[in-house]
């Protein structure tokens, strides 16, 4: 998934947005982890209040947007297939966003019972 990240977000780091020279686009630093049940994404969004955070999911693309003062955080990821989008859970604490992206049951590893003959 890491290679699939949208290219333009990399270029957006710390430059004035068009037409608004006092606003800066910041690409937040993220960690992405995975286990059998979920993807776990953590992002540093210092200063962003819960009300100023916008998370969206559309056709496998996850977008994180938030703003504080003259800073505008944005980052988008194309996620692998098999995310149970209805059960994505998010928490924002101490300027850190924690996103749990559970895998759909059909993509989770399954234990296969071996029956004795």
């Amino acid at each position: 998934m890491t290679k699939k990240e949208l290219q333009h977000t990399e270029e957006a780091q710390m430059r004035p947005t068009n037409g608004n020279p006092t606003r800066y686009v910041v690409t937040p630093k993220v960690d992405v982890f995975e286990n059998a049940d979920e993807y776990l994404l953590l992002a540093d969004l210092p200063g962003v209040d819960k009300d100023a955070l916008d998370l969206s999911w559309a056709r496998g693309e996850l977008t994180i947007e938030g703003h504080v003062g003259d800073r505008y955080y944005r980052r988008a990821f194309t996620m692998p297939d098999g995310i149970d989008a209805a059960n994505i859970a998010a928490d924002l604490a101490a300027g850190v966003l924690t996103l749990h992206l559970p895998k759909s049951p059909e993509v989770k590893p399954r234990k296969i019972q071996v029956h004795a003959a």
Binding site: E34, L40, D44, L45
Partner: protein, 149 residues
């Protein structure tokens, strides 16, 4: 009298100066990094900033994920020293796709251009941003002078 060329050149020089100051500022901040490749928040333009008003200096520093007990502040009449740290590892049982949020530790001192009142300094952390308000000492605050008729 300035012609257009001169004006343009002046602006270019101002811009170069500004960029150079940004670079020096960022380098100075980077020099304070203890261990690890990045105190990423401070590398960013808006990571640490100081606002000056008539009454006080207001310092804001990004400290996402730092617990308040891991922030240490020492204040004198001349300035302040900040120490902050966070430790970030891979959660147990997970594999890593991307790991940009590093552990870091910062120790930094700022000297104030005028005396502050250390007893009146207030610090708070909200949404991962530390705000320290350092009131100027009473004797250096601007005073309104009444003009006698």
């Amino acid at each position: 009298m300035l012609n257009w060329m001169d004006v343009n050149r002046t602006f270019q020089e101002l811009d170069l100066f500004r960029r150079e100051m940004d670079r020096l500022f960022n380098d100075a901040l980077r020099d304070e990094v203890v261990g690890g490749s990045a105190f990423s928040a401070l590398d960013q333009r808006a990571g640490a900033r100081m606002i000056t008003t008539d009454e006080a200096f207001v310092l804001t520093v990004d400290v996402p994920g730092v617990r308040s007990e891991d922030i240490g502040l020492q204040v004198t009449r001349d300035g302040l020293t900040l120490h902050a740290a966070r430790t970030i590892g891979v959660p147990e049982g997970y594999s890593t796709h991307r790991h940009e949020r590093g552990s870091w530790e910062i120790s930094r001192s700022w000297n104030m251009p005028v005396a502050i009142d250390p007893d009146e300094v207030v610090a708070e952390v909200k949404n991962g941003v530390l705000t320290v308000t350092l009131p100027k000492a009473a004797e250096v605050q601007p005073r309104r002078i009444t003009v006698q008729a």
